[in-house]
Symmetry: C2
Subunit: 358 residues, 2 copies
């Protein structure tokens, strides 16, 4: 079992960040602390990741992409986009699927396999804010998604709240008054479900529509099957509804199937909007309106950031948080023609590297 | 650039098979030939793949899966199934996407990255029968698909001809007489398109229906977009048609979209059948009838075979060719209720390892 930065921190009685600062050559560390860390490194035989350190000589030309589920079209298409972007830069991507298991996600970060490639692009789904220490690592890392904010790593995320608010407002602008949301996760305060449900609430409020808990439909994992079940539950309960905002496209496509099975006309009786704008959306019957979160830009940015870290020398650059522009695409399922009906601008934020001294 | 088995063969003036036989310790090789090969190995500094040779000491616990396109649901779901099967056996899968490029597929086999993992499961799409020499490799290899038959490797394939024939006969049994096929590749004699089109012809013949070239619709890559275009071409040409057999589900889902756009009722006017039975098929509107080629069994068998090769010692076992059972699943798009309406039995064939002496 390889010695990790965490073992060194424990032995030296310091934080992982301090070990990271010593290993990465930060200047502002007390000599006594530095000596303690260096002694622990020597005692434990800790070896800094060679691919990250010996920049010119030991490159593998490979980057790892770790995603929860390739059978979800969003992640399959994201993987495709990451590979295209890496390929254009002469790099190859190896993909790991974590199946949203805590154990697999921890393993991805633990470094046991990190010598295989030069950097990691990681979209966690099981780990959350309490696991932020695991994200202090000694190799180039780019975090994707909405589970962990503020880790000492570059981060590419989505315009979740603003885009979900815009989607809800768009449904209201079409005259819909009973807008359900499918895919809520009750009690969860982090992740895409919480953020997009918050956007939905803000959209209702801005449109002057009441928030009705009967219109908030839970779903477990965001698959077609759970979307179909959630939609059928709502219809079977006899709740009045004239629009559905599904929190991802898989849920929306399942909901569409359930609406069809219940002989509910889309968009005549119920307008439907998804989120992700996967390739399948365009070919659904009727074609699905959706939020395009900027998947290709997410992929390109993640590759750019990880390659910049791999190629960097000298003092580490500050970490960046990048949010691409998102767009509302109105297709048949909201009675529209496929054009972009709204843009939510993103942006880039610099997050200073943590130079806290021990 | 690492020295390959091909370099050794060229230097020694023998076939790659002979080098492979020497390296793998086959007994029936002339001493003079063995010496020539061993001299070439020494001169060139050729190193046998350590993960394949030092079985007990050097295992990585990793297997590579190389597929053409993760954005095609079939491959994304196959990858998911391969990972589940490997995971149950305590192994991890790294995925490479080749984008069906000859260069990437050749690189996958060349061994440059093969030391990263202990074995390879490979679904080629660009390489074909003329490239069979590339498949003589010094690491555990399982080939998937219909591009390359007879390589010195275990092979898991589909019941293509029998299943396509059964699908066509099933459409005929529902009273359809003008059955189009979408996704043909004119002039190609290898691969899924050729085999499934052959099954379509056999099905027509057995049903006593004429083969009409006007009903054979070409498509390039098998995506939703190409399926929609091909279907639109057929409809715009005014060809009489009452059923469509699409050679994969992505084509079928695209065709469904085009039928909907042309206001053609499915299955009232046109019955529709796909191939692959991807998860999306069940949730299409209307739900798509399809051929289930045994994806989970393909994944499980591929993992079993590659792990058996990795764990093997002594004389190599004969290579196996495995074909899972396939099934016709009749759903709404053929006016049925989702039950299995036909099974085509598969089987396992032993292919003796080639012991030809030089």
């Amino acid at each position: 079992m390889a010695v990790t930065m965490h073992d060194v921190a424990q032995r030296a009685g310091v934080s992982i960040k301090t070990v990271s600062n010593v290993v990465n050559g930060y200047p502002y560390i007390r000599p006594a602390t530095r000596e303690r860390v260096e002694a622990a490194i020597a005692e434990l035989g800790y070896r800094v990741n060679v691919s990250a350190r010996n920049l010119r000589t030991r490159r593998t030309g490979l980057v790892t992409l770790a995603v929860p589920e390739l059978s979800l079209p969003y992640f399959a298409q994201l993987a495709d986009a990451v590979m295209s972007a890496a390929d254009a830069a002469g790099w190859t991507v190896l993909i790991e699927q974590t199946s949203a298991s805590r154990e697999r996600e921890t393993e991805v970060l633990s470094g046991r396999r990190r010598h295989l490639t030069d950097g990691l692009i990681f979209s966690p789904l099981a780990l959350g804010p309490d696991d932020i220490d695991l994200f202090t690592v000694d190799f180039p890392l780019v975090v994707l998604g909405e589970r962990v904010f503020g880790a000492p790593a570059d981060h590419v995320t989505m315009n979740n709240v603003a885009a979900a608010k815009a989607a809800t407002l768009h449904l209201a602008s079409l005259g819909r008054r009973r807008i359900a949301v499918v895919g809520a996760h009750a009690g969860q305060e982090v992740g895409s479900a919480a953020l997009r449900t918050e956007g939905y609430r803000q959209g209702l409020a801005e449109a002057g529509l009441p928030y009705d808990p009967a219109l908030v439909v839970e779903a477990g994992p965001w698959h077609r099957s759970t979307g179909a079940e959630a939609m059928a539950r709502l219809l079977d309960a006899g709740v009045e509804v004239d629009a559905v905002f599904a929190l991802n496209d898989a849920l929306a496509l399942g909901a569409l199937h359930a609406l069809h099975a219940h002989r509910v006309d889309v968009p005549g009786e119920v307008a439907l909007m998804g989120f992700d704008d996967v390739d399948d959306a365009r070919f659904a019957v009727p074609a699905l309106s959706s939020v395009d979160p900027g998947r290709d830009q997410i992929a390109q940015t993640a590759v750019d950031l990880v390659l910049q870290r791999i190629g960097a020398s000298g003092d580490p650059a500050p970490f960046r948080r990048v949010v691409p522009d998102s767009r509302i695409v109105g297709r048949e399922s909201t009675g529209e023609d496929g054009s972009v009906v709204g843009v939510q601008p993103g942006g880039t934020e610099l997050v200073a590297a943590d130079l806290t001294v021990a």
